[in-house]
Amino acid sequence: MNAQVGRDNIVTQSLGQIGDCGLFLLRILAAVPRSMRHALETVRQLWFVGAMSLTIIMVCGLFVGMVLSLQLYHVLSIFGGTAATGTVVAIAIYRELGPVVTALLFAGRAGTSITAEIGLMRATDQIAAMELMAVDPLAYVVAPRFLAGLIAMPLLCCVFCAMGIFGGHLVGVTWLGIDNGTFWSNMTATVDVWQDIVNGVIWKSLAFGAVVSLIAVFQGFTAPPTSEGVAYATTRTVVASSIAILALDFVLTAFLM
């Protein structure tokens, strides 16, 4: 696929990858209507990339909320503002930590498995076999995984945020003794549905889901059909996803906030 890339310098190589990735996105989008015939496959992928990622997302969300609450409590107690702990935990999780950490975990948990799976399917001729059985691999293999990632990310992010709030409450209220009513009322007085939950949680995580899924399927689909090629593609999925998530986070924050 990328035979002529050769040993260019890193800038042209990266630009070429981004360009190929964009073209690949167009091919996926063109294949989406055809993939509707394989809706069950999308559901199955949603199970693998979404439901199977729940454990890690929930545990990590819980600990992020707990540590955030702990840190904020100690800093805010300097100013006598521990009542604001709930507010700051919620704002920090909704606007930044929720979408970003979920996306990074998602890239590590689901993105890599998508890349490795598609890469190995190509290496073992399964992709070619599908083409020869007149099944379009873009519609049957790639598009369902892309869609599943796109759908799963916001849902996972919501679960992450809910667990984060729960963890923050656990440490702040149950352990450190912030007043329960203060914790919630300060939070509810400050958190705005559109600004924080729709813009912060939903749009960001949708964008991250699209980017991570796209990178994962692209790397898998274009991986050289060797064990080294698949291993390298998997690594690149994590590296490229992480960079893309954090860069996109800045851009989205600048536009949405």
Binding site: M121, Q126, L132, A134, D136, Y140
Partner: protein, 278 residues
């Protein structure tokens, strides 16, 4: 070189290749290749490694397109087909991969049922009957519930064969079907190829190196080298046609028209001895 070819399906010939020329990364894989595959027969394509036998199969299925020439399958020129037509054509072609290429997501039954599920809306009972019939034909009905990872190489190839014939195709392409099989499995696959050809009349194309095996099933053999057909004929007599290609290939000689040395620069120079030095 290219002869006029009728646009309608030919009664005798299923696949007709004329003047096929393909250049892959600077190397001419095919150089005006002409080849006919007759209907209802088993045709074997042989040749030294790297002469593009698998590439030829990819041209027939439309996975690759040549730079010039025609590949007509059942009258239609494959390189000119659009995606829908190409997929319609592929539904009528079975393809057996060298490594079987079973879908690791599914068990044996679902692997064989896969094309049916993708292209038809048959009731579950009917799908089950068709799949079990095909599995019975390859002798693996009892293995329906196994995962692909639990199969031996020979079994996997037979499952792949069951999958390839699930739609009763007009043409089956076998890519190196005998590689890595023990003598028992090899004979089982041989028997299957023969049975499928004789009972169902499926046209078969074999890419293989094993002359002994080919002698048992093939009706016609093409020997390809240097991007051209260098010899063809009955498998039992082709080895004796006297050309240097057949003598080297079937005689197993190390050097001949296919050189022992891969093309390289001057040896003395590569070792650092200058030719002009005294």
């Amino acid at each position: 070189m290219t002869m006029p070819v009728p646009n309608t399906p030919d009664e005798q010939t299923l696949v007709r290749i004329r003047g096929l020329t393909t250049v892959l990364s600077g190397k001419k894989v095919f150089d005006g290749l002409d080849l006919d595959i007759p209907r209802g027969k088993v045709t074997a394509i042989m040749g030294p490694s790297g002469t593009g036998k698998t590439t030829l199969l990819k041209h027939i299925t439309g996975q690759m397109r040549g730079d010039a020439g025609e590949v007509r399958v059942d009258g239609r020129n494959v390189p000119e087909l659009g995606r829908e037509q190409l997929y319609a054509l592929r539904e009528r072609i079975g393809y057996l991969f060298q490594n079987s290429a079973l879908l690791t997501d599914f068990d044996v039954f679902e692997n064989v049922a896969f094309p049916l599920r993708q292209h038809t809306r048959l009731p579950e009972v009917l799908i089950r009957n068709i799949v079990l019939t095909k599995l019975q034909a390859v002798g693996l009905r009892g293995a329906a519930a196994l995962e692909p990872s639990e199969l031996s190489g020979g079994m996997a190839r037979r499952v792949a064969l069951a999958r390839a014939i699930v739609f009763d195709p007009m043409l089956i392409l076998y890519d190196e079907p005998f590689v890595g099989l023990d003598p028992i499995a090899l004979n089982q696959v041989l028997k299957l190829i023969r049975t499928l050809n004789q009972t169902l009349g499926i046209t078969s194309v074999l890419v293989a190196h094993e002359l002994e095996a080919i002698k048992q099933v093939a009706d016609h053999v093409y020997l390809i080298a240097n991007g051209k057909v260098v010899a063809q004929g009955d498998p039992k007599t082709i080895a004796d046609d006297g050309s240097p290609w057949t003598r080297q290939f079937f005689g197993g000689e190390a050097d001949g028209p296919v050189p022992f040395q891969y093309p390289a620069g001057d040896y003395a120079e590569a070792l650092g001895f200058s030719r002009s030095s005294p």
